[in-house]
Symmetry: D3
Subunit: 314 residues, 6 copies
């Protein structure tokens, strides 16, 4: 490929705290109209059931991503050199109509996929995973899912509303967007509404790795099992930031104690590199509850880890 | 009346930081089933256009109201002795459907009015003023309105949605809920979408007292003019906490600098005592943005001032 | 039993952020006058030696407990269905006289026990464990103690005062409230006044599992050893929230680094289920030092774990 | 006097953020054993009825006082040049026994007065004004009082305790420490327990200037009236930081809206210069509730203003 | 002019919390290469003497400026319609060499002026006013200065360094950049190093309007006097955010109590419209000390007020 | 030795929150002119590349150290009894000239070493390690280094500046201050500028133990390997607080997720006791980003652990 890749603003010429806050100080579409991977903000939080505020997630994660440097030593990759990554800005989604918003988000992400690029979506609440999966599945058919979260997000309805941040994967399952042989939840913990929640979830084909499993078996073993289960299938990776313990991610809407450390999460993400990732999201960063940007920094680093998943293993 | 009034939990027997957080440590309906004035929480914030979080307003205002004592020296009244005030708890409103929520809120407040009592509603975002006005107007006909706010809230639609926190008074005007001879905005300031915003607002019969007017003429003079305009009409009083300067009320969604001090606002409320107040609300407290409860304490005190407005002038 | 159990307010009808803040949205005594387990707030912090503020612990923990759901998957129990749990509100304790406060607290908890119910007390500072143990021991005789804390709390006096948050278990030992064969501290760490602190503590019969022990042997092994030591004795469980690392529980008065993760603590609590728990407390949540409610959420979950300890193992 | 005055650490040689945090970077007693005015910390807060934490007031105010410079332009004085001011550190007062603490504080301040020096005490809660007045009155006889506060602090008892932060001036009045012809409250506002509170207070001879009086008549007029009332009497000045509006002083225990601005307070303090001030206190700074040190910075500046009151008018 | 002006992103199509954070959601230079006024960030804070952090000022002010709407009712102007305003991003300035940074900043701003446009610079600390004045003066000759600040900023050196945030206007005066007949400080207050500070300042020709002057005479009268003094001269307006009281602007480095309200400042800015403003800055926003963005929101609004100063009076 | 050691202020006589904030309430040099170990503050942060503020580190760490008690159970030592430890206050370093500051810091620390004492320096940013190593090496020759940090700090220049917080160990290496056979980094993680960063670092002789190594092999094994590598060489220990995970240390300038727990760090420090430690630093505490003092408490405890390293193993 002769295309010259536009990377980050050079931190030796422009301090990292300076300049407009694109993700990781990467180019906009205007600066790099052809791209391999798009960072897309999805500032939508009308699907939340408790603390709102994830609509400010994309801007907070971008601001926190100023600290990212180009070389990723754990993988030995330089994702901003290997891939043209751009920050496409945000998808405009109505804060008042969940259905309108779902349509806008699906359309926006489908447009990215139509260029041949892949995406990392920054939420917004977890409702956005449904239109993302619709877009991805329209291209790839039913996809495998690796879902890091404290919660199953396969509840049914809430106040009669079928589309909320607690239901995307039930809807996705019903709509045939997921490969039922190859979908896993990781990091599940916390109280449920009833034992039926687990039964329903299992009935949709999900395999659950709870935080206790991660603690007892170690993140590498869990990642290995995930790899084996997914195989070469097209894979969507969704990280609800509340999969991290509140100590690591206070800035979120429905915190649950006993969560993963950021080290455990990052290890698992690194150990699934080589799978056929076709799209990703990081959701539920609610900056008004954050402190010293620690949640947003975690999310920015998770996006960065996801970008390395798109770099071919050589 | 022989009914024995149940007042606050006695602070000399139970410390003010102790006990369940009803407003001002007042009784629940179970403890005082007949009442003159109801405090009603309306935890709804799906109508906001910028920072959400006012769904946590009622619980924060209740917690901050623990400091209130029974005697109000400026008016020489003891509202909890003169009136049976109860905390009715919150109206359950869907976070996902604005229309469903409006119906629930209207119904809940109409039920209060049906008992013969009056209410102070604690929001929640300003959308809730519309169902409150529908309930009040169903009983009293078109009412006068004294609306303290940084913003006009007479915008039309936003993302196609007619019912948001920026539109309640346009809708109320269109629905004939307001007395066009007797409706005023107080504390208006900040940037607008266009000069037409003011023209539209004036077309609906509103009189505007901006913060500059309050600063130049003084709160007493403004209050006197309001009194003269309203006269004996049934009056609804709505306070958006952002009428206060962000220094006094940081915990809100759309802050505008150059606002009222809490002293100015309280003075105006005290100087309109004697008008025929039939209902009130205090809205837009967003606790995640508050500090040291100062916004919630302000809101709790405004509710307290409103309660004194219900005490007959003798 | 034919009694119909009143559980949580239904979250599908009333959003979890709505309604008065009883613990876990459970009924008050008025709503469920017969009960198996009582949640009792004890807002007392006059016994603290460093940062005060735990008097606001009960209200903060209640507010944070809104997130709790009825099914506890790790134990497969639904404590709010198996047991009638009520929130009794707070015990009124003088902030000015430690001795008066101790008497009020003991009396309040003894009254709960007199109904045949058991309790989880929410502090308040750790001083409250002494009157709690007096009440429990008056009914059950000397009890076993599992005490999770960064500190021994077996110091003697401070400024001549025998009853402070650093001394409850020395006083309890002296008063014969504890079974010296069956009392353990878990999570101890941090600097001491002298080597004699440990000697004194050992002389009272306590066994210590430090955080290093938990780290090296794992929480399950520690729990197994505790189970073996306690056996069928009546057991009191006391959790000072500072047993957690400051990362997990910043909102407390005397933080010590190197603490437990919430995952480790929860695992140990789950692994002692089946022991004969007769009373519990969670203390030292100081909300003014908390952030995004993470300490209060942790405490609320610990209370929830304690409730599962009361559910019979079938 | 030939004594060479030791002033602040030189900010052109040691940055203001450096060095041990004595008040205004002034010398300790070891560095300036003879002195005219002593800054004395009184970290005691066992007398509070709502939010505790003023025990950390002295250290927070010292840290915030690093910004003070030596020349006070409004008065044209250089208090650290005209007077030898030292930071005597803190009086050790029991956190567990109010009576013991009162004795320690009285003794500590009497010792300062015995050297011929005057003092500014930094609280701590307002309880400390009583032992301060006892010490001052023992030397000067009944003194005039200018008391800036949101609250009267002439309540009687609370939970049977006569010595709390709500009662110092009633006790002082009863003990004959105050000149009943020359005692004023300034900045009073907020709800009371009953109309009797005002009657009782008046019965003790206090004159009240409420915040409304300050707003309507202006701080200069109020100060002039105070000057006239006090005349040449020995005067004690007590500032509860909650006399400021919560916008200006969030870091305090019992905030009341509608308070003074720092500008109004400073103006009144400046306009009473020339009165015969024999002692001062600044109390109720509770740092856990402060933000960006604004409350502590205000308190540090008030101490500084008080120091200028000790500089003879020439 | 036939050029089509590109205004803000349409808030009815893209929610205000969405999209990349340019100032007020205005176009970048790429989107509007010809412009009348440039917003330029200058993230430099190596000149501060107390709390650093203003390097994050530009990004915080941009984020806070999302709330600005296009119509400014007080002036009846729509600055984004009348003028092409662009956000040029930030000037890259070394954090390690003050002199290098000054050169970069001067060069960057001179380049803006060379296009014929005017600018509003967002600091950064007040050091940046010197290179700004060098650039402006190179074009216009010595300029009048209206300087809003708590501090004179005409100190000489600090630790031997001539170029700091406390010295820009002394250096500017020495370099002949200022018109000595037409330079004023507004809002001055707080302690000084010596009486000589004022004498030195007066010797440089500055006129001082202290906060007390503003309080006593009112902002309109002060503005009128400023207008008269400046006349038709080219004018530079510099606002140190600490001219506001810490209640209104906690997020700054050297707070001084007794400051202006945002209402007073805005009134003065509005009342000098019509003067020949050639450049502006807003400096010393230090976001790590801000709360709920209130300081950044104030700064964003001040920038907006400055933009209206560039709109011709018709 | 007959010298009588002056230890901490007695916490049973003076509450720990009282008194001037020397480190751990230890004596100043005036109170203990002969000493074995000096605590020295180095409030310098002009070398930072991202978030500044470590200039306030020494005062925050001192305030947080009030909680330290005299007996260290893990080592069975009482460092304040075995050694005369004093708090020397802060070294005055220019905030404007890195080179001047380096000279002042080196001179200050050399003066400590010249007395025969050793030191623990509290930063300030990591730049200060260079003058510390210059001082130590001038006395001991090239020293071994154990460097706990998320970052290598062996970068070359930044904006042309050779002396920053990212470069001290490259400069130290170039200047021959380090023993290349015996220098290790511990806790490294996060993104780099290029693969060459690691190659350069290795070329300077450093051995790296990343956080993954610590996680996989355990802190004891890592400490054992460090001990073996260092042997009897004179050793300098440098702890950048960002070696801790942001959950444990939010108050720092360049946070990286996936870090050490405080338990892991403390374990490693304890396990290297017995090595020949000649000097230490703890750097990069930036209090404006801290919460509830958790970062400062961690740093204070790390200083305490370092002090035990100076106690001879008997």
């Amino acid at each position: 490929m002769n295309r010259r890749i536009v990377g980050q603003t050079d931190a030796t010429k422009v301090p990292r705290y300076a300049g407009l806050a694109t993700f990781a100080r990467l180019p906009t579409e205007a600066e790099a109209p052809e791209f391999d991977v798009a960072i897309v903000g999805v500032p939508f939080d009308a699907g939340v059931t408790y603390r709102p505020g994830a609509r400010f997630g994309p801007s907070a994660v971008r601001q926190a991503s100023r600290l990212l440097r180009p070389y990723h030593p754990a993988s030995g990759t330089s994702p901003f050199d290997s891939l043209q990554v751009v920050d496409l800005g945000d998808i405009a989604a109505s804060p008042f109509s969940i259905e309108d918003a779902l349509a806008s988000i699906q359309q926006g992400l489908a447009a990215v996929l139509a260029t041949g690029a892949r995406f990392v979506a920054i939420g917004g609440d977890h409702t956005i995973a449904l239109p993302a999966l619709r877009a991805v599945s329209a291209k790839h058919g039913p996809v495998a899912l690796v879902h890091f979260d404290a919660h199953l997000d396969t509840w049914d309805t809430y106040f009669g509303e079928p589309y909320t941040h607690g239901t995307p994967f039930r809807r996705a399952s019903e709509e045939g967007l997921l490969d039922h042989e190859a979908s896993v939840h990781v990091g599940i913990r916390g109280s449920l509404y009833s034992a039926g929640d687990l039964a329903d979830d299992g009935g949709m084909g999900f395999l659950i790795f709870g935080t206790d499993d991660v603690a007892e078996r170690g993140p590498s073993a869990i990642a290995a099992e995930i790899r084996a289960r997914i195989g070469p299938r097209p894979l969507y990776v969704s990280v609800d930031i509340d999969v991290l313990d509140p100590a690591h991610a206070p800035g979120t809407g429905t915190p649950e104690i006993g969560g993963l450390t950021s080290r455990e999460l990052v290890t698992m993400l690194r150990k699934i590199r080589g799978l056929n990732v076709v799209g990703c999201d990081v959701v539920e960063v609610s900056p008004a509850y954050d402190h010293a940007e620690i949640t947003a920094v975690a999310a920015a680093n998770i996006v960065y880890e996801m970008l390395t998943l798109f770099v071919p293993v050589t």
